[in-house]
C-alpha cells in the first residue's frame, strides 16, 4: 500500500511500475475534501480525548470506591458500550439528541444537530470505556497507603488527588489519550451517523473508495505510518532509558555506585538522533528522487504506452487482414462451386430457400406480425439470417454505425461494408445467375 504512493500510475498499484514520484503527496496536500476531513477528524479526536479521558478516569476511580458486591454489576454496565455495535451507538446518539433538541425547541442550527458535537458525544460513549480500562489497570498497582500518607501529612483530598494520584496516573493518562484519539480517528460506523453534514477522514475516504481513488490515499497512509513508527520508536527509547535509570538507582541504593550521574537529556539520546537522521535522510532523498526526472520519465512512459498501443493496433489490423484474405479465398472457391452447379439451380439453395414464399409470409406461424409481415425485418422468418435484408445491410455505407454486434470494435479503422460476413450474396453474380 505504501509503495503505491510512489508510483505515478493513476490507480494505486505496484505493477506495472511506471515512474517513481512523490506527486501524490502534493495531490494529497491539495485535496480540499480530504484535508477538511482530516482537520475535522483531528478536532473531533481532541474533543473525544478531552471528554473520554476524564470520564474514564472518573469511572475507574468509582470502581475502586464502590462496594465489593456492587462492583461486578457496575463494571458490566460501564463496559457495555464496547459490546454495543457502533452503528447502534451512532443511531442512538442521533435520535437521542434529536429528541433532546425537540424538547428544548432548538433550531436545526443548534448544537443538538451539530456533527462535531454529536460525533464527539457518540464516540465518547464507548471510547470512555476503553480509557477506563487503561486507568483500571494502572490503579490496580497504586498503593492506597500513599494517599493515606499524604492525608496524614495534612494534605486535603484535592491536594492528595493532584499531587499523588494524578502524577502516578500520568503515564496512563498519556496512553489513554493516545488510545482515545486513535479510536476516534479511525472510527467509521458510529461517525457515519453522527457526523451529519460534517466530513471526517473516514467518511471522506469511504466516499472516495466509492467514487474512485487515486494514490494520494496511499500517500496519506505513508504519512500516518511514518508518524506512528516515529512515535513508537521514541516511546520505546524513553522506556528503555527509564529502565536503565531504575537499574542504576538500585545500584546506588545497594551502595555499589556513588550516584546515578547526570543523564543526557532524552533528545540527545543517540538512538533518537539516529532515527531522526534516518527519517530526514529518507524523506529528503525520496523527495529529491521523486521530483527530479519525473517529467522525463512520465513522457517516456507515455511514449512507450503510445507505441505499445500503436503496435497493438497494427497487430490487430494484420490479423484482420489475414482473416479477410482467408475469407476472400473461401468466397472465390464457393463462387467457383456455384458456377459449376448453376445448371438447374437457382443459386439460392445455399441460403436455405430464403426467397420461398413460405419464408417470406409466415402468417400462420407468427400471427401477431400479420400487419406488417414484410416491413419489420426482425419479425419475419429471416431472423436466422442476421437481418441480411435490412436496408442497412442492403445498402452498405462506410459509416461505422453500421457495425453489427459480431464485429470486433478494434476493427473500426478498417472500413467495412457490413455485408462481408454474408459472403456478398447480393453480388450481381449471385443474384442473377438465370440469364446464363
Amino acid at each position: 500500500m505504501g509503495i503505491t504512493a510512489f508510483n505515478s500510475s493513476a490507480f494505486p498499484r505496484v505493477t506495472p511500475w511506471e515512474c517513481f514520484t512523490v506527486e501524490w503527496f502534493s495531490v494529497l496536500a491539495e485535496d480540499k475534501r480530504l484535508l477538511t476531513g482530516l482537520r475535522n477528524s483531528l478536532f473531533i479526536g481532541l474533543g473525544v480525548v478531552c471528554l473520554s479521558v476524564p470520564l474514564g478516569l472518573a469511572g475507574a476511580l468509582m470502581l475502586t470506591q464502590v462496594k465489593e458486591r456492587v462492583r461486578p454489576w457496575y463494571y458490566t454496565i460501564v463496559i457495555s458500550p464496547i459490546l454495543v455495535p457502533g452503528v447502534v451507538l451512532g443511531i442512538s446518539t442521533l435520535l437521542f439528541w434529536d429528541r433532546v433538541g425537540v424538547m428544548f425547541g432548538a433550531s436545526r442550527d443548534s448544537f443538538f444537530y451539530n456533527g462535531f458535537f454529536l460525533t464527539i458525544i457518540g464516540q465518547s460513549t464507548f471510547i470512555a470505556a476503553y480509557t477506563m480500562l487503561v486507568f483500571i489497570s494502572r490503579l490496580q498497582r497504586f498503593e492506597t497507603v500513599q494517599e493515606e500518607a499524604a492525608l496524614d501529612l495534612g494534605a486535603t483530598h484535592w491536594q492528595t488527588f493532584k499531587k499523588i494520584l494524578l502524577p502516578f496516573l500520568a503515564p496512563a493518562i498519556a496512553s489513554a489519550s493516545v488510545l482515545a484519539f486513535l479510536a476516534s480517528f479511525e472510527n467509521y460506523n458510529t461517525t457515519v451517523f453522527t457526523a451529519i453534514s460534517t466530513s471526517t477522514i473516514t467518511t471522506v475516504l469511504a466516499s472516495k473508495v466509492r467514487y474512485g481513488i487515486d494514490p494520494s490515499i496511499s500517500a496519506l497512509a505513508v504519512v500516518i505510518v511514518v508518524l506512528t513508527l516515529i512515535g513508537a520508536a521514541v516511546h520505546e527509547i524513553l522506556k528503555r532509558r527509564e529502565i536503565a535509570r531504575s537499574k542504576l538507582a538500585a545500584e546506588v541504593a545497594a551502595g555499589n555506585r556513588l550516584s546515578i550521574g547526570k543523564q543526557t537529556p532524552w533528545y540527545f539520546d543517540p538512538a533518537l538522533i539516529m532515527i531522526f537522521l534516518i527519517v530526514v535522510a529518507g524523506v529528503g532523498t525520496t523527495f529529491m528522487a521523486g521530483t527530479m526526472g519525473v517529467e522525463e520519465c512520465k513522457v517516456a512512459v507515455k511514449t512507450e504506452k503510445q507505441r505499445a498501443t500503436q503496435e497493438r493496433i497494427k497487430a490487430l489490423r494484420e490479423r484482420n487482414q489475414a482473416k479477410r484474405d482467408v475469407e476472400a479465398a473461401q468466397q472465390a472457391q464457393e463462387a467457383e462451386q456455384k458456377r459449376e452447379e448453376k445448371e438447374g439451380r437457382t443459386g439460392t439453395e445455399n441460403f436455405n430457400s430464403i426467397f420461398n414464399t413460405d419464408n417470406l409470409a409466415p402468417a400462420e406461424d407468427a400471427p401477431e406480425t400479420t400487419g406488417e409481415p414484410e416491413n419489420d425485418p426482425s419479425r419475419t422468418g429471416t431472423e436466422n439470417f442476421n437481418s441480411i435484408f435490412s436496408t442497412d445491410n442492403l445498402a452498405p455505407k462506410d459509416d461505422s454505425e453500421q457495425e453489427n454486434g459480431e464485429q470486433d470494435k478494434k476493427d473500426e479503422e478498417a472500413p467495412r461494408t457490413g455485408t462481408e460476413n454474408f459472403n456478398n450474396i447480393f453480388d450481381t453474380d449471385n443474384l442473377a445467375p438465370k440469364s446464363d
Partner: protein, 367 residues
Amino acid sequence: MSADVTLDDVWIRFGDFVAAREANIHIEDGEFFSFLGPSGCGKTTLLRAISGFLTPSQGRVLIGGKDMAGIGPNRRPTALIFQNLALFPLMSVWENIAFALEVKGMSKLERRKRADELLDLIALPGQGDKRVSELSGGQKQRVAIARALAAEPDVLLLDEPLSALDLKLRQHMRTELRAIQQRVGITFVYITHDQGEALTMSDNVAVMREGLIEQVADGSTIYDSPETAFVASFVGENNVFQGKVNRLDQSAAVVETPYGEFCARPIQRNNQDQLRVGDDAMVFVRPEAIENAQSDSANRISGEVLQTEFEGNLWQLHVQLPNGGPRITRSSINDGRATKHQVGDRIELGFSETSAIALPTGQLAAE
C-alpha cells in the same frame, strides 16, 4: 509542641468482629509508648484510630486533651510512619520530606531549606536530590521519619517501621529512633510485634492480645512482673509449670504441680490479688533464673539433658522432666566456667522463690 494521648474506652468493630475492646490508655506527653502484640491483635487498628483513618465504634480518642471525633487525619496533630513507609516514588527525597510544608503552601525556597535541615537531622546531608529508589532500606526509613517530622506533629505514630529491615540495621535504627525522639521531644507511639524493640526503646509498653490490652507498664515491669499468662509467655522466654494453689500468703504462693511443690511470687493485677487457694495456677520461671540446684534452693527439679546449645554469650540447656513432663530451658552466661553437660546426663536444677511468679492459668502465646 508535644501532646498526650488518651484512649477512653475505645472499641472498634468490623461487623461482628471486634478488633479492639475496652482500650483505656493514657500516653504521657513526650513519652515513647509501644503497643506490643502478635500480628492480628488489633494494635494497628488502635493506631489508625489515633491517626484518624478509623472512627472508633465506641469511646473517645483525645489528643492534647481535645476530643478528636469528627476530625480527619489531615487535621490531627499526628503523623504516621507506615509499615511500608509509603514514600512518594515520583518525588525526590527532599520533595518527599517537604510534602507537608508544600501542602501548607510554604514557598519552595523555605521548603528546601527546612528539608535540608531535616536531612542533617537524619544524617543524610546532601542527599535531597536523589530519587527515593536510589536509597537503601535504612535511608528510606530515615527519610520517612524526616517527612513525618516536617509536619511538626505533636504525636508521631510508627506502624512497625523497622520490620522490613535486616537485623543489624534494625538494631541500629532502634537506637537512632530513640535518639531522634529524645532530640525532638514529641510523643512517639510505636507499634511492633518485636518485644526487643518494644523493651529497648519504650518508656511504657502495652501488650495486646486479640483486641484486648493485657498490661500497660514499663519494660522491666512487663518482663519481671507480667500480670497475665499471655504476657508472661509472650514477652521473653519462660518455663511454665501448671498446678493448683496449695497455700497462699502475702509474698508467696505454693503451687502443687506434678513435678513438685513450687514456691512463687503471686502477681497482683490492678492492685488486686489474682489467686486464691485451690485455683488453677501457672508458675513461670525465666531460663536465666534457673541454676544448678543449691542446698538452699527453694524449688528443685530434676530431669535429663536433651540438648545443649551454644549461643556465644549464652549456653542454652534443654532439659526433659520425667514422666512426660514439659521441656524446660535453662540459660547461663558463658563465663568460661560453665559446667559442660552431656546429652543424657541427669541434672538437678533449682530456682529461687522470688524469681518465679505464680499467675492464674490462662492462654499462652502461640509458640
